[in-house]
């Protein structure tokens, strides 16, 4: 069966799964963000416990033909810890909301990780040499008696087992009253933006004690609050352009050259709504949970509760493509509102060539759409299908009437198994899918 992702018969196969098999998932182990770096060699995950785990792709070698570019643990560290805001009697969660990699400029790797309030720049560097033959201390570190030293020697650098160290280089704090939902590194590689529910700030990577507020939608009277910022991203090539999405299903594109405060948008993207179909749920399900520019910078993609939309930046009045993720949920909105699932924030991502897009759903299903062939596929991240290089079988949800043999009915879907975070390798057909506390890596067969 033909798959998705570049036209020809690509077929997705299981590659690896990381994480414990426990039935009882500790809240701290729930993965909250997944991100490949620019080369795709590194894959970072953040979790609710404030921890970051970075995987590195093994070089394919003739000695180990079976590894085929597997991802193994490279570094792990505690990025954020729980804090307490004494003034408001509120706990600040250590959950990592987003990780964004900086483009690599030297041997070290840098990433930004953020929780609700504080953004941190982490440096991940390798150490594979150490100095031996110190004058003032022994090999085990004890200080030598200075009077016993009779000769001087130059320490020599000797190889050692690779050690990967993570250290926080900058801490960008105290700039957000509300909860940070997005960070995005600018194409100038010097600045980045951070967005919370009501404000967006622009930072310089070197400067931690101040940031510029560039968007502020807080009303003078909070009773008049009607919408919040849900996501924001910098344009991939134009360092003066960024977009932000709202809980009302709109996207605003702003140009930082126009004014210091970008409260007035340059472009306003909204799909007209059919007023006769408006219901209590309309606004909630139109809330955009993620916005991502295409690599080309010509398009952007938005995810709302039931669909993914591709917008041409040159056309504001409607999206150019709309893909239904799980339309069968429209007749379940009442119960999804009651169990809060209607507020789940799904992310979406492009493949490297912008020809395909991917997003998650419930029951550990995730969906891929090929923009050229208009074919779509539903796959499942499950341990049952986790033999090495096992091909993934397409899944189908039965919406009513007779259920065919391999189909699953809407009422049998497990709404606790949500795939909110997915990532696509920037150059190859390799994807990372976070299923609660497990990270699945799939590759296409030809790769």
């Amino acid at each position: 069966m033909a798959g998705v992702g570049g036209g020809n018969d690509f077929q997705w196969c299981f590659s690896q799964v990381k994480g414990a098999i426990d039935e009882d998932v500790a809240e701290a182990d729930i993965i909250s963000t997944v991100e490949f770096n620019y080369s795709g060699d590194l894959l970072a995950t953040g979790d609710k416990g404030g921890r970051v785990v970075i995987f590195q792709r093994e070089q394919e070698s003739k000695n180990r033909p079976l590894s085929r570019g597997e991802y193994n643990v490279y570094s792990t560290f505690q990025s954020h810890e729980p804090e307490f805001d004494y003034l408001k009697s509120l706990e600040i969660e250590e959950k990592i909301n987003k990780i964004r990699w900086l483009p690599q400029q030297n041997a070290a790797h840098f990433l930004l990780s953020t929780n609700d309030k504080t953004i941190k720049l982490w440096k991940i560097s390798e150490r594979d040499k150490r100095a031996e033959g110190y004058n003032l201390k022994d090999e085990d570190g004890r200080l030598r008696d200075p009077f016993r030293i009779t000769s001087l020697r130059v320490p020599v650098l000797m190889p050692m087992d690779l050690m990967v160290e993570a250290s926080p280089r900058r801490i960008f704090a105290n700039a957000h009253t509300y909860h940070i939902n997005s960070i995005s590194i600018n194409s100038d590689h010097e600045t980045y933006l951070s967005a919370d529910d009501l404000r967006i700030n622009l930072w310089h990577l070197e400067i931690t004690d101040r940031s510029f507020n560039i968007v502020d939608i807080k009303p003078a009277n909070m009773e008049e609050l009607t919408e919040v910022i849900t996501a924001a991203e910098c344009h991939p090539h134009q360092c003066n352009v960024f977009v932000y999405s709202s809980s009302k299903g709109t996207i605003r594109l702003c140009d930082m050259r126009a004014a210091a405060l970008c409260d007035r948008h340059s472009k306003f993207f909204e799909e007209p709504e059919d007023p006769s179909s408006r219901s209590f749920f309309s606004e909630i399900i139109s809330s955009i949970s993620d916005v991502k520019f295409s690599h080309s910078g010509r398009y952007m993609m938005t995810r709302d509760y039931l669909s993914v939309k591709v917008w041409d930046l040159n056309m504001e009045n409607r999206p150019v493509e709309t893909y239904q993720v799980h339309e069968y949920l429209r007749s379940k909105l009442c119960s999804l509102y009651e169990n809060d699932c209607i507020f789940d924030k799904f992310e979406c991502c492009w493949n490297g060539s912008d020809s395909a897009i991917m997003t998650g759903s419930y029951n550990n299903f995730f969906r891929m759409f090929d923009r050229n062939t208009r074919r779509d596929i539903t796959l499942e991240a499950s341990r049952e299908n986790s033999k090495p290089r096992a091909m993934l079988k397409p899944r189908k949800v039965c919406t009513g009437g007779k259920r065919k043999k391999d189909e699953i009915s809407v009422d049998s879907l497990d709404f606790n198994k949500k795939i909110l975070h997915t990532a696509w390798h920037p150059k190859e057909n390799v994807i990372a899918v976070a299923a609660t506390n497990n990270l699945y890596i799939f590759q296409d067969k030809i790769n």
């Binding site: 990381k18 994480g19 414990a20 500790a26 701290a28 182990d29 993965i31 995950t45 979790d47 416990g49 404030g50 921890r51 785990v53 643990v73 792990t76 505690q78 810890e81 729980p82 009697s89 509120l90 706990e91 600040i92 969660e93 609700d116 509300y178 909860h179 529910d197 009501l198 909070m222 009773e223 008049e224 609050l225 009607t226 919408e227 919040v228 809980s247 009302k248 179909s277 219901s279 209590f280 749920f281 309309s282 606004e283 909630i284 809330s287 429209r330 007749s331 379940k332 909105l333 009442c334 509102y337 009651e338 506390n437 990270l439």
Partner: protein, 113 residues
């Protein structure tokens, strides 16, 4: 005469409802929700939901809130925890049972295991 007209109206309405059901599953769901929660306002994303969203996170005992709430009470009744769909406004006087559990100690992620 008037009876006939009423009958016609009833027939038309149920035809409309059928049309609505076929075209708009959302409206059916909305009707279900309103049946279960009659006090729910008409504007779902009004300040209520947004304010709940802005104030994410467990709220612990606040002595200021506690004393203000006590001062407001005219008779000796203490307000108890509010029903699920409304937010904690600060009038709610928490008891130890309401407070969330302390977090477990920090260990290495199982992804790295």
């Amino acid at each position: 005469m008037s009876e006939e007209i009423e009958e016609t109206k009833t027939v038309e309405t149920s035809a409309e409802e059928q049309n609505t059901k076929v075209i708009c599953p959302e409206k059916v769901e909305e009707a279900k929700l309103k049946a279960r929660y009659p006090h729910l306002g008409n504007k779902p994303m009004g300040s209520d939901i947004l304010r709940k969203r802005l104030q994410k996170g467990p709220k612990y005992f606040d002595s200021g809130d506690y004393n203000m709430a006590k001062a407001k009470i005219k008779n000796k009744q203490l307000p108890t925890a509010a029903a699920e769909k409304t937010e904690v406004t600060g009038d709610h006087i928490p008891t130890p049972q309401d407070l969330p559990q302390r977090k477990p100690s920090l260990v290495t992620s199982k992804l790295a295991g």
